[in-house]
């Protein structure tokens, strides 16, 4: 028994030594004192939920970061879109002392506390899709949210000829980015297309295509004149499009919103969905980790910072929140261009 114990101790000490070596190696560029002690040196990206195409694509950006920098990086997240589960994942990671965390929060307000805990533990935290975040070191957005919402509305309004009823879907009413796009879209419509009317407050899809599908059918029934759909969650457009396809209303409706090419390709091809908007989650994931690396190595983000990632070559500091930095990485895809993207 004592032999066994000493073996365990030796293994433990060895492991600690190795961890320490790893840390020295990874933070050699910056000499950041906070991150050095007991840090595993790893960069971890925490997403809203695992298993959907959007965040699978983001993971390839995390891998690209590793390839580019040689730093260990990985991605994790809750299996369902549940705020409490996501907080639990982050708390679990704090104990492992990574060098930095990228966080794509489900509800930015709900992760402020746990982000503060991570920072207190010497971990750099950079968020994404959380433009009002206060406790993180920085927040990286692919684009200005108002611009993005306006862009979706421009597509929808053109398709509808500036007239008729439309509805907006959001993943949840607490999702800040979804609400920001919806509100910017509404504002643009009211300013430029007075002939259009939004039929209700934004409808929640729970980030679930089946919910979006069912609600689309109900909305079509309750509002016989409904012609436009504005989807914010990447799961909205696949559900809306399926309902449109089943009802044979491809030529009678306009469906625009956030979407992933692999999940919407067939619907875009047959006209059930008319246009999808997105930013490449791979580039966003890579940009978040690059920003985290700059901060971990003692640098600072400012207007004009180049993260070395396409679309994030010249960041702009948000006028609303000094911690938020905007890229210029929005994509708009239609039936002609969707096949250029294989995710």
């Amino acid at each position: 028994m004592p032999q066994h114990l000493s073996a365990t101790l030796v293994t433990g000490v060895l492991a600690l030594t190795l961890t320490a070596c790893g840390t020295v190696g990874s933070s050699s560029g910056g000499g950041d004192p906070a991150g050095a002690e007991g840090s595993s040196g790893e960069y971890v990206n925490v997403v809203k939920l695992t298993g959907i195409a959007w965040f699978d694509r983001m993971e390839t950006g995390v891998d690209a970061f590793t390839e580019q920098t040689g730093l260990a990086a990985s991605q994790t997240g809750p299996a369902t879109a549940d705020t409490e589960l996501q907080v639990g994942v982050i708390q679990g990671l704090i104990a492992q002392r990574p060098e930095a965390l990228g966080v794509v929060p489900l509800d930015p307000g709900a992760v402020e506390n746990v982000i503060q805990q991570a920072k207190d533990a010497g971990i750099v935290v950079v968020t994404h899709e959380a433009p009002t975040i206060q406790n993180a070191d920085a927040d990286i957005e692919a684009f200005d949210n108002a611009d993005y919402g306006t862009k979706i509305m421009a597509g929808l309004a053109e398709c509808m000829g500036g007239e008729g009823e439309y509805v907006q879907f959001v993943g949840s009413l607490t999702s800040e980015t979804h609400m920001a796009w919806a509100e910017a879209g509404l504002a643009a419509q009211q300013a430029e297309h007075p002939g259009m009317t939004r039929v209700s407050d934004p409808v929640e899809s729970d980030d679930n295509a089946d919910t979006a599908y069912e609600k689309t059918k109900q909305l079509l029934q309750a509002n016989p004149a409904l012609r436009g759909f504005f989807g914010d969650s990447s799961q909205d457009v696949p559900g809306i499009g399926r309902a449109i396809a089943e009802a044979g209303l491809q030529d009678d409706t306009c469906v625009y919103g956030t979407g992933v090419p692999s999940e919407t390709r067939e619907l875009v091809a047959d006209g059930s969905v008319d246009g999808i908007y997105l930013w490449d989650p791979a580039l966003a994931g890579q940009a978040v980790l690059s920003a985290a690396q700059i901060i971990a190595e003692g640098g600072e983000l400012s207007t004009g910072t180049d993260l070395g990632v396409e679309g994030y070559g010249s960041l702009v500091q948000s006028p609303d929140n000094p911690k938020t930095f905007l890229g210029d990485a929005a994509l708009a895809l239609t039936a002609e261009t969707i096949d250029d993207y294989d995710f």
Binding site: T50, A53, D210, Q218, L219, Q221, P224, E246
Partner: protein, 360 residues
Amino acid sequence: MKAAGASRWRRVAGDQELLLLVLLGLLLVAVAARAPEVLTVDTLFNVARESMVTLVFAVAVLIVIISGGIDVSFLAVGIFAAYSAVSLVPQEGPAATAWLPFAVAVAIGVALGLVNAAVVLGAGVSTLIATLATSAVFLGVLFAFVGGTVVNSIPEPLRVLGSTSLLELPAAGRGTTRLSVLVLPVLVVCAATAAFLRWTVAGRSIFAMGGDREAARRAGVAIGPTVVLVFALSGALAGLAGMTHVALSGRADPTTFFGGELNVLAAVVLGGALISGGRGSVRGTVLGVLLITCIRSSLIPLGIPPVWQEAVIGSLLILGVVLQALASRVKPVRAILDPADPVLAPAPLRRDVVEAGDAR
């Protein structure tokens, strides 16, 4: 005379199927008053479409509840079976081979049901705890070994089946509305389960076991094999439900059912199944599922914010349980252990029964 009147009133209040019909009627009246344009064949088809998968899951749960347990693993079993089957069967093939993924899903469902039965019998824990544990294991295995990403292109035969309509009519507003051909297997399964529970010895054994396990054992019901049968059947139905969902939605998303247990359990309990076992019917379950689906699809036409949905369904669950309490004052469920008959219910036996009840 007065007492008889009160008892009759209680009997009416205790008849849950009647009450469900009344509630459905009230809902229809409310919708008709508020949004009459919604009362069309479209709504009928939509409600049928949304009820189909829930209904098969509900029947799976019903069997376990009648046997005296509460199963919470059915959604995990369903998506595990369907997702694995989609990955296993060939992508191409004539539409006639669409039975293959269904057969594979049902077989996987049975296998997972047998795991549930093994845990329940082997560990001797309550069904609720056992299935809570196994559902976490099933989902973990699914994500770790089978896959966790959404499958966007399901096998061709399934896709064709899922988009085949039994009826296709012009919608009241614009476009067309359709009733999927998959409604047929769902109806057949409901009828077959009802017949099985009502007219076979094995079916009656499940009721007997749920009503009182010890009494059933003494009456000659083989408890072990009956538990295995219950979970194998329930697993098969869950596999069928999962595959029906995949065929209908045209994609296999491993997270799609997460958090949907409440809807299904609420429907079964509302439908008159006694949560402690021994009572329940497929007919009541069908009504329970229809009521919950109608409520879900009426919220938008009625102008009720969708955020209230969960609260409404939770309230209905409470209503269902209260009604059961009322009904049980009318009909003694465990007549065989009526305390009025001291010979059949000696004190030590009754303590056993109480313990068995706790374990459930």
